[in-house]
C-alpha cells in the first residue's frame, strides 16, 4: 500500500493534471523526494532550504504537519497527505 497525496490545482501541471497521486516514504521528506522523481519540480514548490515553505500547508490525515514533525513527520502506508497553498495576502 502507498500514501495517497492530494495535489492542489496550481501544482497539477507537475502531475499531468492529476488531482491525486501516490507515493512512498517513511517521512514527509522521503515522500516529497519520491514524488519529485516522477513529478520533477514539485519538491522545489514545497521545500526551501530543507524546510517546508511558509505559505504551503501540508496535512497528514487531518493534522497540519507543522504541529507534527514538519518535513520529518513520520508516515505509514495508508496515510493520506493533502497539499494546500495558503490563502493569504495583504
Amino acid at each position: 500500500m502507498a500514501i495517497e497525496v492530494r495535489i492542489p490545482t496550481i501544482l497539477r501541471p507537475y502531475t499531468d493534471g492529476a488531482k491525486n497521486v501516490e507515493g512512498n516514504g517513511a517521512t514527509l521528506a522521503e515522500l516529497i523526494a519520491d514524488l519529485d522523481s516522477r513529478h520533477v519540480g514539485l519538491r522545489e514548490r514545497l521545500v526551501e532550504d530543507g524546510s517546508l515553505r511558509r505559505f504551503v500547508n501540508i496535512y497528514l490525515n487531518d493534522e497540519d504537519v507543522r504541529f507534527l514533525g514538519g518535513i520529518d513527520t513520520p508516515l505509514a502506508d495508508g496515510d493520506s497527505v493533502t497539499i494546500l497553498p495558503a490563502v493569504a495576502g495583504g
Binding site: 492542489p8 490545482t9 496550481i10 505559505f55 500547508n57 496535512y59 487531518d62 497540519d64 507543522r66 493533502t82 494546500l84 497553498p85 495558503a86 490563502v87 493569504a88 495576502g89 495583504g90
Partner: protein, 138 residues
Amino acid sequence: MLRLDSTLLDAVIAHARADHPDEACGVIAGPEGSDTPTRFIPMVNAARSPTFYEFDSRDLLALYRDMDDRNEVPVVIYHSHTATEAYPSRTDISYASEPEAHYLLVSTRECGIDEGPVEVRSFRIVDGLVTEEPVEVL
C-alpha cells in the same frame, strides 16, 4: 468577466464592513467547471490584521474537503483592503495560488463600518500577472 448575484456581492460587502478595520476574507464556491459563484463562505482572518489576511490552516483543510465533497471549486476568493484601494498588493500577488479563481477585492477605506461608498474590483492573478476584469452584478 466576473458575473455574480447581487445577494452574494452584498454578503461580501457586509462582511468587509463588519470586520473593518481588519481585513475580511472568504470564498464564494461554485460547481466545478461552471465559473458561477453560488455558495458564500465567510472565513476567519487568522491574522486579525488591518494589513494582512490568512485563512486558518484547519479551516482551510475543512473548506477544501467540503468543496471536494460537493464538486465545488473556489470560484471567487475575496478579501478587503481597509486603508488602501481595491487593487492587489504585492503580497496578494505573491501568495495568489488559485489560477482559475476570480480575486475579488473590496475597499472599505471610505465607508469603514458604516453605509457609504465601497470600491469593488475583480482580478485574475496568474504567475504573478494581474489582469483586471469587469464585474457584472446580476
